[in-house]
């Protein structure tokens, strides 16, 4: 208990996101805004560079959250479920769906403009949001182009190709602006493609650097894959960006890619200005279960077993919770956060050792977790008040098959869910012990937001938005949304009023306490 108390104090002292009023009218999102987001903003996908998705706002409390009510809703009138985290800058919200960007007045919820990209090739499976730099928004399309959009009127400034959609690439992630670099990643594991992270110039779209996560396709005995599906995090003092990479290809058949398959299923630290690899850690060496390691690499400064560390934490898809020293990638803790049955234990580096007997086989292997993983795109949160890592988890079991007839291209096998459930877990980061768990009944697509006042905002599998007590997981407020929640909540203060934004189906909801 003492250790935790000391850790909490250190963590609170070490917050890299101070709350201050900030400029009333910023010129869009400049570097300072991105480094120190004021409380009337949410200028990037995670809210800030740490990825903690933890807010210092305290107007909504465990005592008054039962009165939380709808401030406004915006209906996109599209059937595609929203997956993006909206940005809030200068009182204007920006969020997305594939081929679409909306700008809303955050006070009224009314549309200012709507950008629509002509429907083209590429998977339209999801879009996580835009990035903002000054008065430009950066938007990735299913056909793997990056568009710079004028935030004032939704007009295109320029468009560049990030990857070749005809080869099987597409793009869906929310870019990350660091300094004068717009960092973009790619999707696509139905083909044997090389993954990468690219930095482009915000004024022109010209490539500044590219870091490749896997060798070129066709290199003998080497893997492809390592797609950069989600948004990373950034430490301005170390000038390192932290990024997770996806699974290797072929997916379920590892025979043509012996070895660890670097840098697939990895967490890498890259120099933000050059893209050079500084260190790497691999949550899933030689993965054969499609378990990307692209979940948020959450940055936390605090004590670990009595010593101060700059840490990086990830609840990874493969079922393991990792705590690393983010200055050098050394492992501090590796512990499962749900049932896993596919590893032979942990090696000296803190990486799981895959069990060859649990690779996909012609007659099937019973595997925990399932292919969707113990968690997935839905954001976790690190609550600096409680020292708990809160994640929407999916304990699950599945069957994995692969046989020679399935080939060595793309999926190269088949997997089938057998059973799974959903639960919000609050993990003590120093031990991996689950301090409290909130049963969701089934796997939920809702991410997690925590606040300093002691609240956890998330959602269940039935479309209920939830506010939980962050000390024990008890439900304090809920609202039935009527559709699937496939996004992560955000929050900001505007006009002295705290708003929490959630989405369900094609509708964006803004919640606040009733006004006097």
């Amino acid at each position: 208990m003492n250790v935790l108390k000391n850790a909490l104090l250190t963590v609170i002292a070490g917050l890299t996101v101070p709350v201050f009023a900030g400029p009333l009218w910023a010129q869009g999102a400049d570097s300072q805004l991105l480094l120190h987001p004021p409380k009337n903003s949410w200028p990037s996908y995670h809210g800030d560079y740490s990825g903690r998705r933890h807010s210092a706002l305290t107007q909504i409390t465990p005592q008054n959250v039962k009165n939380l009510s709808l401030a406004w809703a915006f209906q996109t009138n599209q059937t595609i479920p929203l997956k993006s985290s909206p940005l809030l800058v200068d009182g204007i919200l920006y969020f997305t769906a594939p081929d679409n960007v909306w700008a809303l007045d955050a006070r009224s919820g009314h549309q200012i403009w709507h950008f629509n990209y002509p429907r083209g090739q590429g998977e339209h499976i999801g879009q996580r949001g835009v990035a903002m730099y000054k008065d430009s928004l950066f938007f990735l399309t299913p056909d793997a182009h990056l568009i710079s959009i004028n935030s004032k009127d939704g007009m295109t400034r320029w468009k560049v190709q990030i990857a070749d959609v005809s080869k099987g690439y597409w793009t869906s992630m929310a870019p990350l602006v660091v300094g004068n670099h717009v960092l973009v990643g790619v999707s696509g594991d139905f083909d044997n493609l090389s993954g990468f992270l690219r930095a482009v110039d915000p004024e022109t779209g010209d490539t500044q650097w590219q870091w490749d996560s896997s060798p070129p396709a066709g290199t003998p005995n080497q893997t492809t894959g390592g797609m950069t599906w989600m948004t990373g995090t950034y430490d301005p003092e170390l000038n390192l960006v932290y990024w997770g990479t996806g699974n290797p290809t072929p997916v379920l058949n590892g025979s043509t890619r012996p070895g660890d398959n670097l840098y697939t299923c990895s967490i890498v630290a890259l120099n933000a200005d050059t893209g050079k690899l500084v260190w790497s850690f691999q949550p899933s060496p030689h993965d054969t279960h499609d378990w990307d390691a692209v979940e948020t690499p959450v940055l936390v400064d605090g004590d670990f077993h009595g010593k101060p560390y700059k840490m990086l934490m990830q609840t990874s898809r493969n079922g393991y919770f990792f705590v690393l020293d983010r200055t050098n990638g050394k492992s501090l803790l590796t512990v499962p956060f749900g049932p896993v049955n596919w590893s032979l234990g942990i090696d000296k580096k803190g990486q799981p050792i895959p069990n060859p007997a649990k690779e996909p086989a012609p007659d099937g292997r019973l595997i925990a977790p399932d292919e969707g993983g113990m968690t997935n795109y839905r954001a976790p949160s690190f609550d600096t008040k409680t020292g708990l890592f809160v994640v929407s988890a999916h304990p699950s079991w599945s069957l994995y098959f692969a046989k020679p007839a399935d080939g060595t291209y793309g999926w190269a096998g088949a997997d089938y869910d057998v059973w799974g459930t959903g639960v919000i877990e609050a993990i003590d980061y120093q031990t991996g012990k689950i301090r409290w768990a909130h049963d969701l009944g089934d796997e939920s697509g809702a991410g997690v937001l925590t606040t300093d006042s002691g609240l956890v905002f998330t959602g269940d599998a039935k479309g209920n938005f939830l506010a939980l007590d962050s000390t024990n997981g008890k439900t304090l407020w809920h609202a039935g949304s009527g559709s699937h929640i496939t996004s992560s909540p955000t929050t900001y203060e505007l006009d002295g009023r705290q708003y929490v934004l959630t989405s369900s189906g094609g509708v964006m909801f803004a919640w606040a306490l009733p006004e006097d």
Binding site: E123, G372, L399, N464, H484
Partner: protein
């Protein structure tokens, strides 16, 4: 392990997020001589229909954009989504009469969103999906993935019987001549194995105790943190706020979950071999 598979065998693929209705029925190409008692193949008009190449191409492009992430580029199954080439609903579909509603309404319980598509777009999708299913049935070219009953025959039925009656504890609820009689004629291959591991269609019973002390029992219809509902003996749906009642859910199927961490893969295959003797 030599398992007699009728020529017109029914290959079922139970789909991950696929609905209960999407039971696959594929007639494999002639590989083994037809046993005398094989059933005549079920043919529907759609299975022999061919579609204009341009329509199929349009459908393929649209499928690639909207459907391929979950259902695979070739409709053979992708991330999280069912294999449509082995789908009974697709096989029974005529010009989109069944596929259309699934696409337009989605499958909310399974995680498939609705897609608002024009009639022309729907026709192209239907053309593509049927073409894929026809191709799968007629041509088992290399590179196709999927699980056939023949893939699942690596177990030993006697060992399965030992497990069933012993360590597995199955015989405390099940019997090959009782509730499971004929199960292997009803379900084959992957579907049988998935049901064996976790019978997702099994219904739970629930007893709700009202504040008055009255008990109401029925089949569980819905439950979340806030609402519990059942259908009673007259098939009437009744619900309560969970805060107003006590309730007890009876899910015998939970015993299956307890076995997950205990099974070896050999246990699974042996049990499967044993179950396949329950004709």
């Amino acid at each position: 392990m030599n398992l007699r598979v009728p020529l017109q065998g029914i290959n079922f693929t139970v789909l991950l997020l696929g609905s209960i209705g999407l039971l696959a029925q594929a007639a494999p190409p002639a590989q083994a001589p037809a046993p005398a008692q094989s059933a005549a193949p079920q043919q529907s008009a759609a299975t022999t229909k061919t579609y204009p190449p341009e329509l199929v191409q349009k459908g393929q492009a649209l499928f690639r954009q909207d459907c391929s992430f979950c259902h695979g580029r070739d409709a053979g199954g992708g991330e999280t989504g069912p294999d449509l080439t082995r789908s009974r609903l697709v096989r029974a579909d005529i010009d989109g009469d069944k596929i259309g509603p699934v696409v337009r309404n989605g499958r909310p319980d399974k995680g498939m969103p609705p897609f608002d598509r024009s009639d022309d777009q729907m026709a192209s999708l239907v053309a593509f999906i049927h073409t894929q299913q026809n191709n799968m049935r007629n041509n088992r070219g290399g590179g196709r993935k999927g699980v056939d009953p023949s893939d699942l025959q690596t177990g030993n039925a006697e060992a399965g019987k030992q497990y069933f009656e012993g360590k597995g504890g199955c015989s405390s609820c099940h019997s090959p001549t009782g509730d499971l009689a004929g199960i292997a004629s009803k379900y084959k291959g992957l579907e049988l194995e998935q049901m064996m591991l976790y019978p997702r269609r099994a219904k739970s019973k629930v007893t709700v105790t009202l504040a008055t002390g009255e008990n109401v029992s029925g089949t569980l219809a819905y439950v979340d943190e806030f609402t519990i509902a059942l259908t009673d003996s007259t098939e009437q749906y009744r619900s309560w706020r969970t805060r107003d009642v006590q309730y007890k859910i009876d899910s015998p199927v939970n015993a299956h979950k307890e076995l997950f961490p205990k099974y070896t893969d050999a246990d699974v295959h042996n049990l499967m071999a044993y179950l396949q003797t329950f004709h």
